[in-house]
Symmetry: D3
Subunit: 138 residues, 6 copies
């Protein structure tokens, strides 16, 4: 049975801020630039989640994409969409919501929620058309 | 001399909230839904500004696009990028920052800043891949 | 109150065939080419619906986009998605499902379903990245 | 019979330079900036051509898109693709190949080559993701 | 000589249906949902084929992209474009045309048709903007 | 500390030609086709540069993207944008400016300019929407 990677895309819009309370405003501004604006800014995030597994010969599926879509909605998108990543997401508490950190946190959420037959292979989170990160669990 | 429309695109990321202080939280939630979240959310906005004018036979230009880019930066993008549309933009004060209202406000800013040889023809503001507005000054 | 155009995008996937029963297979092939394949082919359609109206000063909206999304789903997308445009859509019966004809039929469906405060301004239907049509009711 | 607009997209890659021989290098540089580089630069152009006409009730077509594609290839794309817009295109001779001027020249080529049943409605030429022009024959 | 991956993109439009004849309609509907519609549906597929090899110091090419384009057309696209994946493609006979299975079948076709100097590295097949699969031969 | 890949995108427009002086015009034409046009042609290139490293727990960053953007500008984009890849770029001298060769040369430039904490993981250079290459240093 061939191993295939399947990717499902989702979108969410959120506000955030890059900032450390234990740093001065000057140091925050020096390190995080405009991203530390105390009044927040936001993005249309694009999330591509890739799972890998053998193709089920009965269905031709690695995984039912409706189930992957549902897992992404329940574990990630419903918690983040139209929210503030610094203030409202229990599983991002205490984390600076950089694209890197959010991608790793999304990985942890999804890895625990997928069926045994597939392996989470890749979380690709795009913050702007020009900036994106990939986490593969390593 | 042929009349041609020239469009320049810019991007900005901002936080906002749709909300009226003179309404109850329930009414805000009923009308604005998730967009009224008191903790904000945000978007990657795409702004396409179109000017119209005769093609200058000396240069082949309707307008120097570097000047249009500069006008868009100075009048609009520098004020909005990585900002909060409800709290930080003097020329959006007192305005609910719906895509419609922001587009009209951008029009007013730009119409006053363009050279006489061209006419502002269109402000196209895209809030998400699925939602956008066009204002043509009418 | 400024007049603004608001556009909402939706997607649907469908099968179709361009074909006239009252023509020979040769004539169908000559006029419609590959699109007359008796075994069908299909597309990911992108539908942009534009409404125009004054901006409501209370809400900053021309129209609640959730209501436009719902009208597009109920009147159009739910009937077309994952369907056969020749065989399964009552409001396309007897019509060759060219992009032109489908766009006009979508216009008729939506024009009857929108609130009085807005005017249907434009139906933009994209069949492939290279082919699209616009109908403005004229 | 409803009037519908149909758009066909094509791509071409070309080199060009914005420059006037009757100007000094300094003036060229001041007006055209990097675009006057004597060693050329180039772009992937995207060309959207829109024709308008009544929908033929027999075919559901405003115009056979294969014929529009062929006209665009024969009149425009075959002459421009992988070419130098300043040096190699007879119908651009003596014209500064700004996006504006190229769009107007494309319009002239196509207007003369389309069938009587349709009207050329719009030439949309995109030079970069951020810069584009529209000519509607006015 | 550096090892480089080169990717060529192609498009095709096709109809298909996910369905097993040896299952009841109910079971097909439960597993495949709308995709089991007996009247078919279809997609604009995007196919990215990646080959890997050393850069030929004489040409600067891993492989002549015109030859890759031709192999993709002859082995894959000409057979699938404007066709029905369930009914008309000899090399998909007996296979449920899920994106996974089609990608694996495309791999087999191309692996046998490429020159010895390159290795087929990746078949990326996109069924919709939100759903895609990657097969790397493993 | 999780290992994450971060990608930054940039754009440049350039002219080039695929051609060997030590070959006849016929052989150049046979191997390079239209790309050997002596009058040049050009492209809008898209460059995605990926770096990999542990996420700094203090900042949530693998690398400050402003620094990566600056390195890409100083080492690559400022030298290539609005230039002729055959004639004007010291670090491309003596190299046929195929996408493969340009990507490898970009890798060499960037690998030497990045901070020690990160590893250059991937240079992805897109010449047209349909043609791209990836170099990972191997």
């Amino acid at each position: 049975m061939p191993l295939v990677q399947v990717t499902r895309r989702a979108h969410f819009c959120a506000a955030h801020r890059l900032h450390r309370d234990d740093w001065s405003e000057e140091r925050n501004r020096a390190v995080f630039g405009d991203c530390s604006n105390p009044n927040w800014h936001g993005h249309n995030y694009t999330l591509d989640v890739t799972v890998e597994g053998p193709v089920d010969p009965e269905t031709g599926f690695v995984m039912d994409l409706k189930a992957l879509k549902r897992a992404m909605a329940e574990q990630v998108v419903d918690d983040l969409d139209h929210c503030n990543l610094n203030l409202e997401v229990s599983w991002l508490e205490g984390i600076i919501p950089s694209t890197e950190n959010v991608a790793v946190a999304i990985w942890e959420r999804l890895a625990a929620a997928l069926p045994d037959a597939v392996r989470l292979a890749r979380v690709h989170l795009r913050e702007t058309p020009n900036n994106s990160v990939v986490y593969t669990g390593g």
